[in-house]
């Protein structure tokens, strides 16, 4: 089992807690040391927590549609604050309205996220890809 530390949270002013609880439980059961910041988390709160706990990945969720704005510039901010190598995953209902899935993935990969997930993803795949990214 991989016991590495990961930081988890719902970004921006988003109050959706259900998926967050599911991810917490899921990654904890998978052996990770999950630092769950819950809902309404700012970019700097994610980074503060990752620095404090020595986390190797930040898992960002967004459900309320404003994910694009909230997630923009996060990779640059991480680098700025010394987290050059941190793994960034993002998932949820990332944009307002319906958009082609491939388009969404491309858009967020361009922003510097290592993995981009839409709501229909199988969590098992997220886990495998996180393990691959963290080499554990």
């Amino acid at each position: 089992m991989c016991k590495k530390t990961i930081v988890l949270g719902v970004i921006g002013s988003d109050c959706h807690a259900v998926g967050n609880k599911i991810l917490d439980k899921f990654y904890s059961d998978a052996g990770f040391n999950v630092i769950n910041l819950g809902v309404m988390v700012s970019q700097d709160e994610f980074i503060d927590s990752a620095i404090e706990t020595g986390a190797e990945a930040i898992l960002v969720s967004s459900l309320y549609g404003h994910g694009e704005i909230d997630c923009m510039g996060f990779r640059e901010r991480c680098t700025e604050r010394g987290l050059e190598d941190i793994v960034l995953h993002v998932g949820g209902n990332l944009v307002v309205g319906k958009m082609d899935k491939a388009h969404i993935v491309e858009k967020f990969k361009d922003m510097g996220y290592d993995r981009v997930y839409t709501p229909d993803v199988d969590l098992q795949i997220c886990l495998e890809e996180l393990r691959a990214d963290l080499k554990c």
């Binding site: 959706h16 259900v18 609880k21 599911i22 809902v39």
Partner: protein, 481 residues
């Protein structure tokens, strides 16, 4: 912060209200006296409590939508569009107002004016102020309730009451746990005691304002005993402050028997606890919220979810039902979709209303379980508070005695985990610290084992995940793929 369940002295409220009203310019000069006079001028047909009481007497199920936009004229237009198919109307408040960010709400209003359509997800009543709000009351011939999700709604209440709204949703627990992250429970309970006290002051002047704790909480697999316990606590807190008209709520869970049992036991338990606390002179009604979880994207499928909630509201004898729309999965509905939800609901309620006269054998057991569960929780809450329900509520959340599944609030314990049984009823999978009697907990475990056997898998967290997404994918129980 220290709280207790004790009626706030009128003068204490009047002193405190100076600060409350100072939070935004529209609060200046809000007068209870003048508000009472205005409320007195409204006809019976615009009085929420009267219409509810009449429905309770006639065993009617009233229909109410959700609706709110940024600008007054646009909001009036929306309500007028929904008026004919609604028995009760709402004014749903925007997200900025819910967070007391009136300056941002103001920007939203200004931008909406410029854009010519609403850029807010609700009506910013505080910013619009009393005079503008009264235009709503005067344009609509039915009672209008303020619905929101505001942990600190004291200014909103002052303005709403003075403006003629006479029903107000929310409570110190139910508008904190599912809506906020870092608001102290002591703080939100205290703030809502002030709102209830304001309600009591209007009551002393002969104006009954209906109060409605928010039943569905996180809207996600909440076992009836959890929301019932909170509803009863908020009811007791409100009664203490002089509230006389209370509507207790419950969010449809999906299994018909459990939902009927939940609605019937909610009334029974409320009367029991209110009576035991010495309250007699109050009016009680109930509200069922149509399915609050994830909806199917497809509108035809969504109509069936709406229809099923209507069947349950009817068979359960709810006083009113809060209606979803076929656009639920994709956010705020058009007014046309909103109307469709109302029409579908009315059709179903009217088709099933005359056929409530039947007895389901399995109902008694479900009701007994809910009674025993709520009794266990309430006993532990009273004990934790040494007899004071306000203190008890705070301590109960700290200790996980009350534990709302999937709630964002930091003050929620978050260890209890629900799951559906083989018939779709919500059961307790992981108990956390909720003090359920051993035999009741065995009943839950047995029911979950039954499902696990059918699905040929051990009871597991994956079941919970499957259940959360089940209705949006067309089922009630999340069977393995």
């Amino acid at each position: 912060m220290e709280i207790q369940n004790k009626k706030i002295e009128k003068q204490e409220y009047l002193n405190a209200r100076e600060e409350i009203l100072a939070a935004w310019p529209t609060g200046q000069g809000v007068s209870i006296e003048e508000g009472v006079k205005y409320q007195q001028s409204l006809p019976e047909s615009k009085r929420f409590a009267s219409v509810l009481n009449q429905a309770v007497k006639e065993k009617k199920v009233l229909i109410q939508p959700r609706a709110g936009v940024a600008l007054v004229d646009e909001h009036i237009e929306l309500l007028k569009f929904l008026e004919e198919e609604s028995d009760l109307l709402p004014t749903t408040i925007d997200a900025y107002t819910r967070l007391n960010r009136y300056d941002e709400a103001q920007k939203g209003i200004d931008k909406s004016r410029a854009a010519g359509h609403s850029l807010l997800n609700g009506f910013p009543a505080v910013n619009h102020g009393i005079e503008s709000c009264r235009r709503i009351i005067e344009s609509i011939s039915k009672p209008v309730e303020i619905r929101h999700g505001t942990p600190d709604a004291r200014l909103l209440a002052e303005i709403s009451y003075a403006a003629g709204f006479n029903s107000f949703e929310g409570g110190g627990i139910s508008y904190n746990i599912p809506y906020a992250k870092n608001v102290l429970l002591e703080k939100s309970i205290r703030d809502w005691q002030f709102i209830d006290r304001l309600t009591g002051i209007y009551q002393e002047e002969g104006i009954t304002i209906n109060r409605e704790p928010f039943g569905p909480l996180s809207g996600t697999l909440v076992p009836p005993f959890v929301s019932h316990s909170i509803a009863i606590i908020e009811g007791l807190l409100a009664l203490e402050q002089g509230v006389k008209s209370i509507t207790l709520g419950y969010g449809q869970a999906g299994n018909m028997i459990q939902d009927i049992a939940a609605m019937q036991s909610l009334t029974e338990l409320a009367h029991k606890y209110f009576g035991e606390a010495g309250f007699k002179d109050y009016e009680l009604s109930t509200v069922l919220h149509q399915w609050m979880g994830g909806f199917p994207e497809d509108e035809a499928r969504a109509f069936s979810v709406i229809a099923w909630g209507s069947v349950v509201a009817n068979f359960a004898g709810a006083t009113k039902v809060i209606v979803k729309t076929p656009h639920e999965a994709s956010g705020i509905p058009t007014k046309e979709a909103n109307l469709q939800g109302l029409k579908a609901t009315r059709q179903m309620i009217q088709m099933t209303h005359d056929q409530c006269y039947f007895n389901i054998a399995e109902l008694a057991l479900e009701k007994e379980m809910i009674h025993r569960e709520v009794d266990a929780i309430m006993a532990a809450v009273f004990e934790a508070g040494k007899g004071d329900i306000a203190v008890g509520a705070v301590k109960a959340f700290e200790a996980g005695i009350i534990d709302v599944p999937f709630a964002p609030a930091a003050c929620n314990y978050g260890k209890m985990l629900p799951v559906r049984d083989n018939t779709g009823a919500v059961r307790v999978f992981e108990t956390g610290n909720t003090p359920l009697p051993a035999d009741v907990m065995n009943y839950h475990k047995e029911k979950i084992r039954e499902r696990a056997a059918v699905e040929e898998r051990d009871p597991c967290f994956q079941m919970v995940i499957d259940d959360i997404y089940a209705i949006s994918k067309g089922r009630l129980v999340g069977r393995p793929r």
